[in-house]
Every structure is written in C-alpha cells, then in structure tokens.
C-alpha cells in the first residue's frame, strides 16, 4: 500500500479496509439502484408462527443514510390520509427484493419537505432518460 498520508493515516486506511472486508460478506449483491425521490415497493419477509410471507411496502424513498452494513433507507407513504414512514436496513436479509416503480427527479438527497406536503403539492416529477 502506498498512501502519501504518513504512517498513522496509512494504518487508519488499512484498518478501514479490514472493516470493509468483514462487512462485504453481509452486503446484498443484487439490489437495484435507487435514491431519494424514487417510488419503490419493498418486499419484506414476515414470520408468522412457522410460516413466512412477503409483506409489500410501497412508498417514496426520502433518504438513504450511512454506509456498509449500517446503511438504511426511509420509505414514506400516505396510508388513509396519515403519513407512514418505515426505515429499512439496505442489506437486511429480511428484504426479499426491492422493486423500483418510478424514478423521481429531486434536487436534494433528503427530501424531508415531503412531510409538510400532501395531495398535489407532494408530487414528484418523473426522471426520464
């Protein structure tokens, strides 16, 4: 390794690499790309007794935060006129799969302003390629 940051910084990088190596085994490989503003459906595994079923949760991603195994994302939806937010760990083995329904065009990484808006004002423009 040839970092030009001095020996202590180099050691720090080396240790971070080791942490990433430990984490890498626990990361989900085949996740679709998604970011704040996208409308997604998360299929979450629920155990009832000894039966397992998938529970879909559809809504808008309002943020992604942290990295590695600690990375989470928040999905917001309106349920009967009440806003519901749910936080999922991105790499949780309980997430069966994630479907991206619509890509949203937003200017920021955390669209918390959606919380103050309802109805037509809460619309997000679709991103078209």
């Amino acid at each position: 390794m040839n970092y030009n940051y001095g020996i202590f910084a180099a050691l720090k990088f080396e240790m971070m690499d080791l942490l990433k190596k430990v984490e890498s085994e626990y990361l989900t490989q085949d996740l679709p790309e998604f970011a704040a503003g996208d409308n997604v459906t998360v299929y979450y595994k629920i155990k009832e007794g000894n039966k397992e079923r998938l529970q879909p949760f559809q809504g808008t991603v309002i943020q992604r935060r942290n990295s590695g195994t600690a990375e989470t994302f928040t999905v917001r939806k309106m349920s009967g006129g009440i806003g519901v937010e749910r936080i999922f760990p991105v790499n949780s083995p309980l997430i069966d799969h994630i479907k991206v329904n619509r890509r949203g065009k937003v200017r920021r990484a955390r669209i918390f302003y959606l919380r103050e808006r309802t109805g037509k004002k809460a619309r997000i423009k679709e991103k078209r390629n």
């Binding site: 430990v22 195994t69 600690a70």
Partner: protein, 209 residues
C-alpha cells in the same frame, strides 16, 4: 486457557440469519509466538509466555533480543503469560510455536482484556453511576450532579477510605467477559466479536477463552 494478543481494529455490524443487526468488534491478531515456557524447576511456576507485534532489532535491547532468539523469533513488542495454556487435545506446546486466531471457534464465548479509553476527570454521576440530585427546582441550586453527603459528623470525624468521589476515570485495565465469537477469518487473522471491547482503535487487546 487459550489466548492471543491482538489489536482492536474497530466496530461494525453484521446481520444474523434471522435478520438481526449484531454490533461487532473486529480484532486483528497476527500469529503470536510462544516465547518462553516457564517451568517449576526454573521459575517456580508453570506458564506459557506468548508475544506479539514485531519490533526492529535496533530498537530492542540486547537482553530482549536474546530472550526472543531462544524461541527463534524476532523481537516483539507485547508479551503475556497464560497459566494453563492448552485446550482439550493432548497437544504439547513447544517453544517458538505459532498461536493463531484459529484457536477460537465461532459461537464460543471469550473474554477480552485491554486498557480502557481515558475519560479524564469525571464527576460521580459518570464515574460511579450516582443518580445526582434528581430535582432541578424545590430549593436546589447548582448541585444537580453533586454526590451528596460523604459521611457523618463528629463521629467518625473523618471520611472513610474508598469513598466514591470524582476523579480520573478510564485508562485502566478492564476485562470484558463473555463476548461471543461471531466469526473467525483465518486468512486475514481477524476475530469478530459480538459487542464492544475496551480500548481505542489500534489498542493492544488480549483475547482469552
């Protein structure tokens, strides 16, 4: 009791099969070397001394160089003695033998010894878990985190030894017991333990079982 000296790398988290996020500490323990076998004839007691972390020979005094040369090893920075260093097998420990992270198995419980992070001068609430005064009002003023009474009056007319008071906290040798081994990565000499471990990143830690 088996053990190894390593360095704390840092903390992360992994997922269990049930989907639980487990907080973990990663310890890197490159192969230790058995640097001395203490015997009753020579030393008056039986023990196994292991050593870890190479030091340059020019930075080591000759006595130490000679000590490690007996075991056929380069000088090391840290040594530690174990009284009863063996597992269930009949394997006889030899001088100069390597001790690797493979002595640990997944699911086992281990203890970790290290110097804790220094916390500086701390009050009794943080240092000893006192509850403080509890009320901010009802006649209280500037004593929210005060210790309260430290003893009686003209009898015994002194404060008892060992009374818990404010003072330097941390920077002491601490043993954290019963940490579960989540994973052993032998190629990288890594041990992943569930939970936290005393000491800063890069601190020397002793893992024993």
């Amino acid at each position: 009791m088996l053990g190894i000296i390593g360095k704390k790398v840092g903390m992360t988290s992994v997922f269990s099969e049930e989907g639980k996020n487990i907080p973990c500490t990663v310890i890197k323990a490159e192969p230790n070397v058995v640097s001395q076998l203490k015997s009753i004839d020579n030393d008056g007691y039986r023990a196994v001394q292991i050593a870890f972390d190479d030091v340059k020979e020019k930075n080591t005094n000759k006595a130490q160089v000679g000590h490690f040369a007996k075991a056929g090893a380069a000088p090391k920075r840290r040594i530690h003695e174990f009284k009863d260093f063996r597992d269930d097998s009949d394997h006889e420990i030899k001088l100069g033998e390597e001790v690797t992270v493979e002595i640990f198995n997944e699911g086992e419980f281990v203890d970790v010894i290290a110097n804790s992070k220094g916390k500086g001068f701390q009050g009794v609430v943080r240092r000893h878990g006192f509850a403080g005064v509890g009320d901010a009002t009802h006649g209280q003023h500037n004593r929210l985190r005060a210790p309260g009474s430290i003893g009686a009056a003209s009898f015994p007319a002194r404060v008892f030894k060992g009374m818990r008071m404010a003072g330097r906290m941390g920077g002491k040798r601490v043993k954290t017991m019963n940490l579960q081994v989540v994973k052993v990565i032998a190629e990288e000499n890594l041990i992943v333990l569930k939970g936290s471990v005393p000491g800063h990143k890069g601190a020397y830690v002793i893992v024993e079982k």
